[in-house]
């Protein structure tokens, strides 16, 4: 079908085609745009009026391109005139970008830093959680994920942590309406838990038109306190610009595999203790590798009584995980006319995680529509319905069901598959596999017997009226909502350790945030060179969260588990609401397209502070100078701008922080109610609003017609009077006190360099983008009585993460090993290392990275495009409790040293019939360091030579100090690789297809650099402020697959 037509055209002689190229932004002609006949070297350039003329054979493809604009390919037929309207490319310069309140502005005018990404940049190699796709792509934005994987949340921090009590995460605005990004559960802490995901994780990447990141307070001042950690503004695709019906189908299929490996794992000794073979009384030492030397000719009993060879089992742990997969299909229809537009999309995502029986299914439905009635009134609206079902979210951290924790210490002779058979006895009872440690459940019991499930229904949308009084005065009214209903159940059958009568936890959350906004816009040219834009408006934000919870204990019928099937039930109810009323405004002056000045103000009234304290005003001012306009025309510096801004932002707090209240426990005992003070933090009636002051300076420079583009920013912010729950000693009766306190500063630089080193008319193009971010944080002041603020704790493992006066936010604090002046570890007379006293807590590290870099390269040739992104983060530390346990359990390679010698010494001792006290060991592990042979006042340090049982040495180390297990968490990851091919349109000219592209996509392919054994450096167990703990991590995942995009 195709071939004869091409042949027919080939016989035609060239005709001359001419036309005019204009910009969609301002309808002005575009001089200097290039027009090339695809697949040839012949081409031309448009003249000063945007006009061009070219000779081409009918059926050839003309490629129109211009820096900063999306290239267009147009198939020629018999027509002789082709006018082209070029649309600016969102990621490049000169673009119109969306700023606070959804106001579109030319980027050149703006006095603060804004970064923008196109939808393609997050949807080609997509993740289940679209926010993770921003990683490494935007300067100043730090994204971290939890070990929970696709079902989990992500943490986004822009320009450093400035808040102690708040979550430091940005405000999400979708199509102008704030979105709730709260977690649906508490996440995992010191004692474990589940990552229930957060709000931003639910979006369908294929619906995203663009993402704008407002980083500093000046950019976000109009959004108020919730935006003081920046704003991520997401615009979804609409039917605008689509004439007639457009159909688009996108399909992604990726496979997920285990990325991190157990690379510090000894294979010399097997399960057991004291170098001895496990016996039937000792057969549950599955997670203790201090046994005898491996010898496959010996058989030993395992926990279920079976006999197994005592040899190395290859891949004995990670074989637990399966290959995962993610399939996403999105179908969208769009259409429009001059007066109306609509876009509808449907998507279906099915994810199977690497953890067996864990998976996620998400369906989204989105309709975006707009209609103009008459000349002046436009009504638009959006509805986005999301339905997400997650089965068996992985338990994290110290939760007994955490499979990562259960698999962690498995001895080298033990194949995890042996746990899959016989983990329950004939009557269905749980069989002990690890010596009665009920806090680490057999992983097969966890995945097969324990079930958790969540179902989320979410509706986000708005209705908006725009009325143009005149061409310079308009009014916008909008009501938006984000409503979520979330139901979570977690069922443990009878016999589950710590839940031995069977239990069901059920949580139903209903969360809604409604925003009602009115905005009056005034936009006028005052004189030829002088423009004035004024916006003023008001907003009412109402947030409500309601939680019903139920716990059922003592199951009746084993095969069903509604809550009524439990003889004992406890129910809870929590309610939380707040409202903020605001008035705000902004005025922008522009002079000669060169000088710009903007001022904003906002006043909030918050329900969470008491009368007299709850109204607060804050202004911002910013300006920019396009100095390249003042320079004589020259090619080298094609665009140059300086910008500066200053802003103040006020903030409120959570509700119910002002009064002491009392409540009842969620159960009664023998018909007596059980009452108590419900506050765990001391309330404070006199809270003042929090204030953040910041300024930033920046420049944007384009060289060689935009072939090299530099954007640099210096920022400095200072947050004072923070409202926070200050950790206080529990001897006060409370764990915390609500206070105004603290001063935290963040200063840093963001550099973004993009260049196009190669761009030829042969369609060969090479783009490089480098982002660099350095943030310096200091906790200047906390409180007169208390100098540290606890962000996270792992007290059972001897460490806390704190904000500590005079240090950077997020230090890991614990006891240090005692050292002499030369830094040698001091051992006691028994040959074991000593730690400093409990009162000498030292800063052992910091869980926040010092600098980050993203490097992306894209090479396109003809229809092919290859792109790779390397994500680098440097300078953070992580306390790996997994590795600490690997040493305690004897699976780490370091634990081999001295074993043979110690066991020989013990044999000799027993042969001699000497007691432990009177025996001088002939060998063992000799702790590296010194021993004090002097007195405590006048120490004399000599090299330690005392051999000890390595089992005691490594066991005592963890009891004493976390120091040896704090690792450098710096890493470089090959974050993303895509290879796309746009099938030339002439291949399917006579078909309904408009474009077809196929891509190979991959995420998190390799860890290029890492300093931590066994676990991925990106293995936090929650998205909270206290980053820097790792425990029982599930291996990280790499994914790769194919993506297909077809437009009709």
């Amino acid at each position: 079908m195709l071939l004869p037509m091409q042949l027919a055209w080939a016989q035609d002689s060239p005709i001359t085609i001419s036309g005019k190229i204009t910009s969609a932004d301002d309808n002005q002609p575009l001089p200097g745009a290039s027009i090339v006949i695809k697949g040839t070297i012949s081409g031309t350039v448009s003249d000063a009026e945007g006009k061009y003329s070219i000779k081409a054979e009918p059926g050839s493809v003309l490629v129109f391109s211009f820096v900063g604009m999306d290239s267009q390919e147009i198939l020629t037929g018999t027509q002789t005139t082709i006018d082209v309207v070029m649309i600016s490319n969102a990621t490049n310069l000169g673009e119109v970008i969306i700023t606070a309140l959804g106001i579109e502005r030319n980027k050149r005018e703006i006095g603060y830093s804004v970064s923008e990404l196109s939808g393609d940049q997050v949807s080609t190699a997509q993740e289940v959680n679209v926010i993770n796709s921003l990683s490494g792509k935007v300067a100043g934005v730090d994204i971290s994920t939890t070990t929970a994987g696709p079902t989990g949340s992500s943490r986004v921090v822009i320009r450093g942590n400035s808040s102690l009590a708040g979550n430091n995460q940005p405000l999400y605005i979708i199509d102008g309406v704030p979105m709730d990004n709260s977690d649906m559960g508490e996440g995992a802490g010191m004692w474990g838990g589940y990552d229930m995901g957060n709000g931003a994780a639910n979006l369908n990447p294929n619906d995203i038109e663009s993402i704008s990141v407002l980083k500093g307070a000046s950019a976000s001042a109009l959004y108020g306190a919730r935006a003081s950690h920046g704003v991520i503004m997401i615009t979804t695709k609409s039917g605008k610009g689509q004439k007639g019906l457009g159909v688009e189908f996108t399909s992604n299929y990726t496979v997920e595999k285990v990325l991190s490996k157990f690379d510090d794992y000894q294979t010399t000794y097997g399960m057991g203790r004291d170098g001895e073979l496990p016996t039937i009384d000792n057969a549950e030492t599955t997670q203790v590798a201090w046994g005898a030397k491996l010898d496959p000719s010996i058989s030993v009993p395992i926990y279920n009584g079976e006999l197994k060879p005592f040899g190395v089992v290859n891949d004995n742990i990670l074989s637990f995980f399966r290959p995962g997969s993610t399939a996403t299909n999105t179908l969208s229809l769009s259409g429009g006319s001059d007066k109306a537009s609509v876009r509808v999309s449907l998507s279906d995502l099915r994810n199977k995680d690497i953890v067996p029986n864990t998976g996620l299914q998400r369906n989204t439905f989105l309709i975006n529509t707009s209609v103009t009635l008459g000349e002046k009134l436009t009504i638009s609206g959006k509805a986005n319905y999301i339905n997400e079902r997650v089965n068996n979210r992985p338990a994290l951290s110290d939760n007994p069901n955490n499979v990562g924790l259960a698999l962690l210490g498995i001895a080298p002779n033990f194949d995890q598959q042996w746990l899959s058979k016989g983990y329950k006895d004939k009557t269905g009872n749980y069989v002990d596999w690890n010596g009665g440690n009920i806090y680490r459940i057999n992983p097969y019991w966890s995945i097969n017997e324990i079930e958790n499930e969540s179902l989320k229904h979410r509706l986000m949308g708005y209705l908006q009226l725009n009325y143009d009084f005149t061409d310079w005065l308009s009014l916008q009214l909008r009501g938006g909502t984000d409503y979520t209903n979330f139901r979570y159940t977690n069922f443990s059958p009878r016999g589950t350790p710590t839940r031995d009568t069977g239990s069901l936890d059920e949580i139903i959350n209903t969360v809604s945030e409604n925003n009602y906004e009115a905005l009056l816009r005034f936009n006028r040219k005052l004189a030829d060179d002088l423009t004035l834009n004024v916006y003023t408006g008001g907003n009412i934000m109402y947030y409500r969260r309601e939680q019903f919870s139920n716990t059922g204990l003592d199951i009746v019928l084993e095969d069903i588990h509604p809550i009524t099937n439990f003889t004992r039930q406890r129910s809870g109810y929590a309610f939380y609401e707040k409202q903020i009323n605001s008035l705000y405004g902004s005025a922008q002056l522009g002079y000669k397209d060169t000088y710009y000045l903007e001022g904003t103000f906002r006043n909030d009234w918050s329900s969470t502070l008491r009368k007299g304290m709850n109204s607060y005003f804050y202004p911002s001012v910013s300006g920019s100078l396009v100095f390249s306009n003042l320079l004589p025309d020259q090619r080298f510096l094609s665009f140059g701008k300086l910008r500066a801004s200053w802003a103040e932002v006020g903030g409120d707090t959570d509700p119910y922080q002002l009064n002491l209240t009392y409540g009842l426990l969620d159960f009664s005992l023998l018909d007596k109610p059980l009452g108590q003070i419900s506050n765990t933090s001391i309330p404070n009636r006199d809270l003042k609003p929090t204030q953040t002051y910041s300024y930033e300076l920046g420049t944007e420079l384009h060289f060689l017609d935009g072939r090299i583009r530099i954007d640099a920013t210096y920022y400095n912010s200072r947050t004072v009077d923070q409202i926070l729950a200050l950790k206080i000693p529990s001897t006060s009766g409370y764990n915390a006190a609500i206070i105004n306190a603290g001063e935290i500063t963040n200063k840093g630089v963001e550099l973004s360099l993009s260049a196009t080193p190669v761009s030829t008319s042969y369609d060969l193009k090479w783009d490089v983008m480098v982002n660099y971010t350095r943030n310096i944080n200091e906790v200047k002041e906390l409180h007169e009585q208390v100098k540290t603020y606890e962000l996270s704790a792992a007290r059972w493992a001897g460490a806390v993460i704190q904000a500590k006066e005079g240090n950077a936010y997020g230090v890991i604090v614990g006891r240090k090993l005692k050292r002499d002046d030369e830094g040698n570890i001091i051992h006691n007379a028994a040959g074991l290392p000593m730690a400093t006293g409990a009162e000498d807590q030292a800063v052992l590290g910091n869980g926040v990275h010092k600098w980050m870099m993203g490097i992306s390269n894209t090479i396109s040739y003809k229809g092919f495009s290859l792109s790779a992104l390397v994500d680098i983060k440097v300078g953070a530390d992580i306390y790996s409790m997994s590795n600490a346990l690997a040493h305690q359990n004897g699976t780490a390679e370091a634990t081999l040293e001295g074993r043979e010698a110690w066991y020989a010494s013990e044999e000799a001792r027993l042969a001699a019939g000497v007691s432990e006290e009177s025996w001088i060991p002939t060998g063992g592990y000799i702790g590296k360091g010194v021993v004090n042979t002097g007195t405590s006042d006048e120490p004399v340090y000599v090299e330690n030579t005392k051999p000890v049982n390595p089992q005691d040495y490594w066991g005592s180390l963890l009891e004493n100090s976390p120091e040896p297990f704090i690792y450098d968490a710096s890493y470089a990851k090959l974050r993303e690789v895509t290879l796309s091919y746009n099938i030339p349109s002439k291949v399917f000219t006579s078909t309904p297809f408009q474009s077809i592209s196929v891509s190979f996509v991959a995420r998190n392919l390799f860890l290029l650099y890492s300093n931590i054994p066994n676990v991925d450096p990106e293995s936090g167990y929650n998205n909270g402020n206290g980053q820097g703990f790792e425990y029982g991590s599930i291996p990280s995942r790499r994914s790769y697959g194919l993506s297909l995009n077809v437009k009709f």
Binding site: D281, T498, F575, K578, S607, Q785, R795, E839, E917
Partner: protein
């Protein structure tokens, strides 16, 4: 178009109408009360005092209990208590659980009722409970925040000072005296009381008995004060029968990580399971041997041997005894891991209902019996037997008690055996009790040892009290097996107190350091003695 304009302006107008007047109301949590009847908090405090597995395991069993050698075998008790290894996690458990829970609420109860004549009884009851709570804390740790503790809300004291134990004890006596005298049956009714169901007369006896216990603590450090307070307490009226015991009731409910109604000691015995096939503890030979020596009928009420089966259904105590002929053989030496049992004895074959069963040493050993380890077993906060034993010592010291030391001692033994029925154990026949009492008269020159060893038996489920009285009296003479000198951190001895929690060093630095400065070598060591534990 006019219509549309009209709609727009109506909407704008209604936006303007939304004001902030309702904010104060909106910011009041609708699920919480601002003024709760303090009686409702009493029930909760009573539950938490004996319902927490966390602190019962960590302080009650891992340290105090392991050292007092009633029970052993469980991993962490042997690894930490048995070997003398410090763990901040375990040492701090009582402190970090009770200050923000019992202390916070009891201080609030006292503060809110203190000058209200219509709440004088609940105020007095709160003060007795407050002394009970703080006495356990100070006995374990020494100098602690007391006067300013729990006052974070009322006085905005975030970092309370550490008070000297002597000052704390002096205040205990003042408080108990005042509280007992303020109690008046004609005043407000105590409504949510598990111990005495609001019976004011028995609350008075409990208050005085507690005063007697605390008075006896002072015999080493201030014998005169001890006598004065003990005699005052006895004169005001202490417990007179087992019916006066302070007993907390519990229910059989699965453990969920906190206090949910079950007995915390039982959760510890049964590794938090309500259906465990065995306890993780075994009776310690020190405990068994003393009861063997005295022919104590409580031996086989405290400990039973069970087959390893769901819910420990088959009791083989008598069969094992018939085979071994000795209860000593049915106990584990102190500081022993349960997995080491097999090295200490050989399996035996017994015949259970016609089936031949092989029992390893571990299952020959006595486990905490179904009576005392049931999750719904009651918890005896203070027993009448204890009170009679204190009076026996007081009488022995020739203080005024109204009866002789022997009379008190005999009564105590009788009450001690009979109180086992509180756990639902079968009654011990009167003749057995009488024989036991008659076989164990006070022996000249051994009175203090006999009395205090009986207190130790009485505290078999309350390791902390046993540990406190052992430090005071030195009885029984416990031999601490320093089984692993390489890792021992207590100079091979039983430590004398618990060290302060890490969180105090982090967040109450100045106050705790002041207290540490008062200690020998200005060191927060667990070998240091508390004030009343004078050398």
């Amino acid at each position: 178009m006019k219509k549309i304009l009209y709609i727009i302006f109506t909407m704008l107008f209604s936006l303007a109408l939304i004001r902030c007047d309702h904010f104060e109301e909106m910011n009041q949590d609708p699920t919480k009360s601002t003024d709760m009847d303090p009686n409702l908090m009493l029930s909760n405090i009573q539950l938490q005092l004996s319902g927490g597995q966390f602190e019962q395991l960590r302080n009650g069993f891992i340290y105090s209990g392991e050292w007092m050698q009633h029970w052993t075998g469980e991993y962490s008790t042997t690894e930490f208590g048995g070997k003398g290894v410090r763990s901040d996690q375990y040492m701090s458990a009582l402190w970090i659980s009770q200050y923000p829970r019992e202390v916070k609420n009891v201080v609030d109860m006292v503060e809110r009722t203190k000058d209200d004549p219509t709440q004088s009884n609940i105020n007095a009851v709160s003060r007795i409970m407050k002394v009970y709570i703080f006495s356990r804390l100070t006995d374990l740790y020494g100098d602690i925040p007391y006067f300013g503790a729990g006052k974070g809300y009322y006085d905005r004291v975030f970092t309370p000072a550490y008070d000297r134990q002597e000052d704390i004890y002096n205040d205990f006596f003042i408080e108990l005296d005042a509280a007992v005298k303020a109690l008046d049956p004609s005043k407000d009714v105590i409504t949510e009381d598990f111990y005495y169901n609001g019976d004011i007369a028995r609350w008075k006896k409990f208050g005085n008995s507690l005063r007697l216990r605390l008075a006896m603590r002072l015999t080493k450090v201030n014998i005169n004060k001890a006598q004065t307070e003990a005699e005052a307490a006895i004169a005001l009226g202490v417990m007179q029968s087992n019916a006066d015991m302070a007993v907390m009731k519990h229910i059989n409910v699965a453990w969920e990580g906190g206090t949910f109604g079950g007995n915390g000691t039982s959760y510890a015995f049964m590794n938090t399971s309500t259906t465990a096939d065995e306890s993780v503890f075994r009776m310690c030979s020190t405990f068994a041997d003393y009861m063997i020596d005295t022919g104590d009928p409580r031996l086989t009420i405290f400990g039973r041997s069970y087959l390893k089966e769901s819910n420990r259904p088959t009791d083989v105590t008598d069969l094992v005894y018939d085979e071994l002929g000795s209860y000593h053989e049915m106990a584990l030496p102190p500081s022993t891991f349960s997995w080491e049992a097999s090295q200490l004895g050989t399996p035996i074959i017994i015949d259970v209902n016609g089936e031949t069963v092989e029992l390893t040493k571990l299952y020959q050993c006595l486990q905490p019996s179904r009576y005392i380890a049931a999750i719904d077993a009651p918890y005896i906060m203070m027993s009448y037997a204890e009170v009679e034993l204190w009076m026996a010592e007081a009488a022995f010291r020739s203080w005024t008690t109204g009866r002789t030391a022997q009379e008190h001692f005999s009564t105590a033994l009788q009450a001690g055996v009979n109180q086992m029925s509180t756990y639902g154990a079968p009654d011990v026949s009167a003749s057995v009790v009488t024989d036991f009492v008659n076989d164990n008269p006070l022996v000249n020159g051994q009175e203090l040892e006999q009395i205090n060893t009986q207190l130790w038996i009485n505290f078999a489920l309350n390791g902390q009290e046993a540990y406190a009285n052992w430090r005071r009296s030195g009885f029984p003479a416990i031999v601490y097996p320093n089984r692993d000198p390489g890792v021992n951190q207590s100079n091979g001895q039983i430590p004398r107190r618990m060290q302060y929690p890490q969180e105090e060093l982090d967040y109450n630095t100045a106050s705790v350091n002041e207290a540490i400065q008062r200690m020998p070598e200005a060191t927060d060591s667990w070998l240091n003695r508390v004030w009343w534990d004078a050398e």
